[in-house]
């Protein structure tokens, strides 16, 4: 397994790794009235839609909504309020905290030079409506969301895994997914190419890059103490004539003694 990771020069003031009680500070929420554009935008949205919350974080308007109105609200933001680009769309796994996914849509208005984030939360087994008809750039983002989190998107034109292979098991970006893969992932290439019965032949994955087995003389050799392949590690070392027999001979000629004192490669 991996050697434990010890941060040596951590730029974070509070060490997340050593202080287990440390809680990351929350970004403060600012009232929408602080910003003229956002205040009027929020007012217009509130006239038409029933939103849960609206505030400003780091200079961006954040609108929390019910997942059912996501498409209508994005239509409204695009056509009426000039937020004409969907920069990003993805989900965050809050299954452990509340059993929900948070889905966010990050919008940009080129004319107003403002950004809006629309957030909604869905339960694990719920589906969300596709916004592909509003922004075409949502197509692959929604496929990626489906691929990585297993969130089903309704009315998507081609809902298929985007990054992982089609027969992949599990959703890699969920917090419960192990970093080095579950069993299906660890044997994926062996199962697919050779078949499950070859798992024993090939053996499990070697995950430690610093692994050395001094007794395995087939695969490892100690520099300048090489024993024949497969021989016990403590047997007599053999002379390896050269590692690099093409390399030029380096000769040291001693002028006083008038002879070569050293020949080496």
């Amino acid at each position: 397994m991996m050697r434990p990771y010890r941060p040596k020069d951590n730029v974070q003031k509070k060490s997340y790794y050593t202080d287990r009680f440390w809680v990351a500070p929350k970004i403060p929420k600012i009232d929408v009235k602080e910003d003229e554009v956002f205040a009027s935008d929020t007012k217009k949205i509130k006239e038409k839609f029933d939103i849960k919350d609206a505030y400003i974080q780091r200079g961006q308007l954040v609108v929390e909504i019910d997942p059912k109105i996501n498409k209508d609200l994005l239509f409204f933001l695009r056509d009426e309020l000039e937020y004409d680009m969907l920069m990003e769309l993805s989900a965050i796994d809050y299954l452990a905290q509340s059993g929900e996914f948070e889905i966010f849509y990050q919008l940009l208005s080129m004319s107003k030079r403002k950004r809006v984030r629309v957030k909604c939360r869905i339960k694990e087994n719920e589906a969300i409506e596709s916004v592909n008809s509003v922004f075409r750039s949502a197509d692959w983002s929604e496929r990626e969301m489906y691929d990585m989190f297993g969130i089903v998107v309704n009315n998507h034109p081609y809902l298929k895994r985007l990054l992982m292979p089609d027969d992949w098991v599990g959703y890699p970006l969920r917090k419960t997914y192990p970093l080095q893969g579950d069993e299906a992932a660890q044997w994926y290439e062996i199962d697919k190419i050779f078949g499950k019965e070859y798992r024993e032949v090939v053996g499990p994955e070697m995950r430690d890059p610093a692994y050395i087995n001094e007794n395995d003389t087939n695969n490892f050799a100690r520099y300048k103490h090489e024993v024949p392949k497969g021989a016990p590690a403590d047997s007599e070392p053999i002379e390896i004539d050269s590692f690099n027999e093409d390399a030029p001979l380096v000769e040291t000629f001693d002028l006083k003694k008038s002879k070569f004192v050293n020949r080496d490669r």
Partner: protein, 169 residues
């Protein structure tokens, strides 16, 4: 009998050189190791640099082919993902015997820094490898040296022993 008389043994006769079949076949083989380009990640940049004019792989007879049918050696340069593992095996199987594989860079050797669910931990899990080339990324000189080592390995072989079909499993 022919009327004209040629003394083949005399010097200045017809240019006849005697050698062993092994030597002449290996001479041809080792000096025309056509490589299958298998650039998968950043190592591919170094592989391209090796092929370009400054390092000039053509001097060794290594000419990159984009088809497995015309290639003798597969240079796996880069990170092999699990999604792609199937295709590298298929392309390897399509290469005509005799064939060799050079695994270039840490990613191809062991998975390298990508200790994750999506990376094959070493191409030798799916195809048999002849030469492992350390480095991240190996310099073009290193790749040239690897090809020279492979040539050296081939020169030692006799051609009369059929190359054993290389099977990983």
């Amino acid at each position: 009998m022919a009327q004209h008389q040629v003394n083949y043994a005399a010097s200045g006769g017809l240019p006849v050189a005697l050698t062993t079949v092994d030597k002449i076949v290996n001479w041809g083989r080792t000096n025309s190791l056509w490589a299958l380009t298998y650039g998968l990640a950043c190592c591919a940049i170094e592989m391209m640099a090796t092929g370009a004019s400054r390092y000039d792989f053509d001097r060794f007879g290594v000419i990159f082919r984009a088809s497995p049918r015309q290639a003798d050696v597969m240079i796996v340069a880069g990170t092999l993902t699990k999604k792609h593992a199937e295709f590298i095996r298929r392309l390897y199987d399509q290469m005509a015997e005799p064939k060799w594989v050079i695994s270039m860079g840490s990613c191809a050797n062991t998975g390298g820094m990508f200790n994750t669910y999506a990376t094959v931990q070493g191409v030798d899990r799916v195809i048999p490898v002849d030469l492992y080339l350390p480095g991240c990324a190996p310099r073009p000189e290193t790749l040239q040296y690897a090809v020279m080592l492979l040539q050296k390995k081939l020169r030692k072989k006799t051609i009369f022993n059929r190359q054993k079909p290389k099977r990983l499993v």
